[in-house]
Amino acid sequence: MKTELNHSQQTEIQIEKSPSSLSILWREVVKDKLALVSMILLALILLVVYGSAIFLDQEKIVKVDLLSIYAPPSSEHWLGTDYGGRDIFGQLIIGARNSFTIGLAITLISCLIGLIVGLVAGYYGGVIDNIIMRVIDFILVLPFLMLVIVFVAIVPKYNVFTFILIMSAFLWTGKARLIRAKTLAERELDYVSASKTLGTPDWKIISREILPNLSSIIIVNLTLNLAGNIGIESGLSYLGFGLPESTPSLGTLVSYATNPDVLQNKWWVWLPASLLILVMMLCINFIGQALKRAADARQRLG
């Protein structure tokens, strides 16, 4: 009995001794000062945004109040109001929440599609791969921005969900290409051949053997894409092809700056939103870069 206890203790120590690659990645990133600061700052922003968004009433915020049009910051309206007398601070919080959630949703959905398609194309190769790659080539030559604009015009019930779906429908292709290339390289390794000779079915080889070996690439790519996708949402909303005005977003707030009077004299309308976008994108980017460096270094070290 006693020896058995001893035994299980030993095994626990050994499990500790072999950290997973993700925890190694995490350790490397935490060592990077810039990434660490970015991570803390981003966490704070998200905490404030998602925390206070719970207490804000979106209906009340987007309601037009003609008595306080373009009010400068005051104790009642912390960041003043816009041309409809709507509270900027409230819109900023709700908008940041919307923009981040949308960016995250687009990133996750497009990553999931890209992952599945890329793994299948890379693993099976041959005709399947050929067909998939031609489809991806076709999507890539389509004029993305123009089509999004067309979609916005023709989709009858245009809301957050349709926006996420339209964006994801275009953005999975890059991910699929990356994952396919990595899978092609991975499947040539003997551990995949070994799994085949051991009778492991293909879907299990793909999900349990190859996928774990792509995990750091996926994490890095996910992070870098998240920054880009938050930017895309804001950019499209700025151009007027993003979300309707009834759904506050950072892009909508920034777009008020197209009015020269607002741009010059009413900084409180657009500046906070612009800064928030900038800070969030930079933070995520720094984290992503650090992850990338850590993953590359790990690859070099073997």
């Binding site: 035994h7 030993q10 095994t11 050994q14 499990i15 001794k17 072999s18 690659s21 390794l189 003997d190 551990y191 051949s193 070994a194 799994s195 085949k196 000779t197 051991l198 009778g199 492991t200 079915p201 053997e209 774990p212 070996n213 995990s215 073997g302």
Partner: protein
């Protein structure tokens, strides 16, 4: 009935190119070879790099589709089976891979690596599975606690032992060993080879042993086939091949084996020169104008040579 019989096996790789990636030509990696393995023996496939040894081994185990020919395992042709039908014979044939680094998934613990075939073919409780894995881990000379480690914590020789344990779990009849020690330090090569001999007796294994190193082949094999550009140039017992080589290509390979004894080095150098001369002079006696070997001709009960 022979345990494993290969009849006129051909494996061609298509070379694609140009528009629409059409097939332009073929690499004739294995071009009409026939041989057989008897139960319990070690059959050696030798030849220089690129002569088609790996392709032969991987075709026998079903990783590569044969272009033509038969692979009879205990009388049943497994060459043309679909992968689902093949799964019944999966357990009987296993493989030890050349590269102990890439053949173990770096993300999996030894327990999960060795238990992989068990999870595919047997329904075991976690306790039974662990016990069985530990049995094989100890069998191959590693500590029972190794099962919670990852591959990178082991040396090349130890990794190769893990690969051997994995191949043994399903109780196979035939093991294909594709250059199993060529990636290892010379000091551990002998250890692993002797260990393979031990388990051969214990588990009654038949080996198809692939190597470019005649010294190792001599140490391991009962019968030997010499391959040259996808074909056999000579086949015979170990004794016949090493003491009475008939084909010039075999003679050349044997004369190239390094000799450890410094006294005999001079002698060997002279022999090597002589063989090399014979090789250039009598090339057309042994190869046709395409540089391909002739058909095998039986010169004794067990000995065949590719001569006119």
């Amino acid at each position: 009935m022979e345990f494993l019989k290969i009849n006129h096996l051909k494996v061609y790789y298509p070379i694609r190119g140009g528009f629409f990636r059409r097939v332009n030509d073929y690499v004739r990696a294995v071009d009409d070879i026939s041989f057989e393995l008897r139960s319990g023996e070690t059959y050696g496939l030798v030849g220089e790099s690129g002569c088609g040894k790996t392709t032969t081994g991987r075709t026998v185990i079903g990783l590569i589709k044969a272009t033509a020919g038969e692979i009879l395992l205990e009388g049943k042709d497994i060459a043309k089976l679909s992968s689902r039908e093949f799964s019944r014979y999966r357990r009987d044939i296993q493989m030890i891979f050349q590269d102990p680094y890439s053949s173990l998934n770096p993300k999996k613990r030894v327990l999960d690596i060795i238990a992989e075939p068990l999870r595919n073919f047997e329904r075991l409780s976690p306790q039974e599975e662990k016990r069985k894995v530990q049995y094989f881990v100890e069998k191959v000379g590693l500590h029972a606690d190794s099962i919670y480690k990852y591959p990178h914590e082991f040396s090349g020789g130890q990794r190769q032992r893990i690969g051997i344990a994995r191949a043994l779990t399903l109780n196979p009849k035939l093991i294909i060993a594709d250059e199993p020690v060529s990636a290892l330090d010379v000091s551990v090569q002998a250890q692993v080879l002797n260990f393979m001999k031990e388990i051969q007796k214990e588990f009654q294994l038949t080996y198809l042993f692939i190597s470019h190193d005649l010294g190792i082949i001599r140490h391991m094999c009962d019968r030997i086939g010499i391959m040259y550009r996808g074909q056999f140039v000579e086949e015979g017992t170990s004794e016949e091949i090493f003491n009475n080589p008939q084909h010039i290509y075999t003679k050349r390979l044997i004369s190239a084996i390094p000799n450890a004894d410094p006294q005999k080095r001079k002698e060997q150098l002279a022999l090597r020169k002589q063989v090399e001369e014979e090789y250039t002079n009598s090339f057309h006696q042994y190869f046709n104008h395409d540089g391909k070997a002739y058909r095998l001709k039986r010169i004794s009960e067990t000995h065949s040579v590719a001569i006119l």
